[in-house]
Symmetry: C2
Subunit: 340 residues, 2 copies
DNA sequence: CAAATTTATTTGCGCGCGTAAAAAATTGTT
DNA sequence: AACAATTTTTTACGCGCGCAAATAAATTTG
């Protein structure tokens, strides 16, 4: 045998029949140990690997799992995608990662491309308000889809995310204890449903406390949150230092805020000598290394990723859509650091 | 026609023959405008798309281009991958992104998987010293590979990156002008070839200046550079504030350093009232938002990504390996901010 | 050791499309 | 209108493997 190109060739080289080799590649433990040894021995010598295109053409169920996030250059989603990918690999699946990079048209293109790949399932965090809802729903009808982080009603067979209400109530409660009801700092027109929910919860919480909600909303679009936070904080601080703590909708805005405060000479921190207390949400991977380190409410990355993967795999194994839509919200954990 | 599943079905629905439809999908402009109109009209009504597995099985040359980076959760590589992906999409290719997440075994697995996909080519930033050199070289022999950012000798048909010497000489030169020859702060055993080159250049430069090189190397492995920088700086600063500026090998280490300085009450900045000047390299996406904003040498992200893509596409079109290995190094640009 | 059971082999069809060659139809040219 | 040049159709084979049914061999059981 000069050159091993097909499974036929390879089977001959092992002294085993082709269907048996096929079975082996589908599930190595499904053939007798002796046969398996023969195959794996030949595998060493010839480094043959089956043609994935021929395989996937004939299998109705691919081993591919799509991971779709709104923006991979956002460390939160990068970290999320990393954890999910690792868990999928552990389960023997082939993850394929895609990022819409903030563009809803790109999001649809990704789904189109994904559908052509006949994936076993998809784990997706949609862009949010700006997503093409109809396209997403149509996709989820054709491909088992579990949604994480950003919920869109009517899309996907299940949702796994974090409890925005709890984010806000934990951070607000802490700030109230150590200082006063905070000013809420966010983007005026956020695409992300979590951002919207957080603002709503803030208002509700202030109402409950009998305090007038005070919101500073920064205009701006896209995913340059640090820049938005920076501009907004510059604007806010030029009107004087707030007489109460500031709660940022998310850590990336808070980082921009910190940069602006630094530039303005406003000392952020929890000590009596500091000018302003600042808290935030998400526990962005870098929030421990800001100056000062951010007090923030932390996502349970691993729990969200873990349950998302488990639910998708169950759904796939089961072979039929989940009986009913189920939304799971994990509780954040307060990460007390020095900014508030 | 109840359901359009195959190209055969679709061709019938257009009133065109199957080979013509096939030709259309390969190159839409290769069929007569009238025929093209017929096909595109039917495309609207039936939203058929050819089976990618069947296509790729029969084509020797896939349109897939692999993008492989050492760690996607590092904003530098996330940004790099984003730009490269966009450029590939513009060129009509299908990018597939992979991250080794710092693990050399994973890097090899990615390449194995990639080879099975018969990609037209691959753009790769290898892990560096810890990479399985032999596996990489073997891969590059089978698949057109252009290497970017981290150079490994003997691997790939070309290299595009940034000029480490120029990084160091620009930052050092600036620090010498405004203060004094800097202390160099880096990781003791970096995997990345750029880190090694930067330290070498620093030593050479100090020699040229007739100054004793002073290096503070932090032990630590992996990709948690902020943490390493933080620990190292805590250690360094506990011995007293250096009497000269500090130059960090890269921005992520510098961010950790800044956090440590903040904790220690050491004021970093360029003003006379500050205690320490700190400069760095890379122009990490967040380095403008640190406190103080980092003075750093900036990669030309777009130039590196652009040339990498162009060279790979040329190589693919040409159909044969590049006549000779060519390494291109772009000049960094000094980003003067407030940390030094 | 024979029977029952598990596992492997043989055979052969089908997946959806690429592609080549020859024949037919369409278009452009004089 | 007649011819040449281009484009499309027809026909038919091949890609590498999944998968199913029948048969044969190996293993386990009594």
């Amino acid at each position: 045998m000069s050159q091993i190109n097909t499974m036929e060739d390879f089977a001959k080289a092992c002294g085993v029949s082709r269907p048996t080799v096929s079975k082996y590649f589908h599930d190595a433990s499904s053939v007798r140990p002796k046969t398996r040894a023969k195959i794996e021995e030949a595998l060493e010598r010839y480094d043959y690997s089956p043609n994935i295109y021929a395989i996937n053409q004939n299998r109705k169920l691919t081993k591919t799992i799509g991971i779709v996030v709104p923006h991979l250059a956002d460390p939160f989603f990068a970290e999320m995608a990393r954890v999910i990918e690792a868990k999928l690999l552990d389960a023997g699946m082939s993850p394929a990662m895609y990022s819409a990079y903030g563009d809803p048209r790109k999001e649809v293109e990704i789904l189109d491309g994904l559908r052509a790949m006949k994936p076993a399932g998809v784990l997706m965090a949609p862009l949010g308000e700006i997503s093409d809802r109809r396209a997403l729903e149509k996709f989820a009808k054709a491909v088992p889809t579990i949604v994480f982080d950003s919920r869109i009603e009517g899309f996907g067979e299940a949702f796994i995310g974090s409890d925005n209400g709890s984010f806000i109530s934990q951070t607000v409660d802490y700030l109230v204890r150590v200082a006063a009801p905070p000013l809420f700092f966010d983007m005026a027109t956020p695409a992300n449903p979590n951002a919207i929910a957080r603002r709503d919860h803030y208002v509700r919480l202030m109402d409950k406390l009998g305090v007038e909600p005070q919101i500073f909303s920064v205009s701006g679009r896209g995913w340059k949150f640090e820049e938005v936070g920076f501009r907004g904080a510059l604007d806010l601080l030029s009107q004087g230092v707030p007489d109460r703590p500031v709660l940022c909708s998310n850590d990336r805005l808070a980082m921009g805020f910190l940069a602006a405060a630094y530039e303005k000479g406003v000392r952020v921190g929890r000590l009596p000598t500091d000018d302003l207390q600042l808290a935030s949400n998400d526990d962005h991977p870098l929030s421990r290394y800001t100056c000062p380190p951010l007090t923030t409410a932390a996502h349970d990355y691993d729990a969200v990723a873990g349950l998302s993967v488990r639910m998708l795999l169950e759904r796939i194994e089961q072979g039929s859509p989940l009986r009913q839509y189920k939304a799971t919200f994990f509780q954040p954990r307060l990460a007390l650091r020095d900014s508030a």
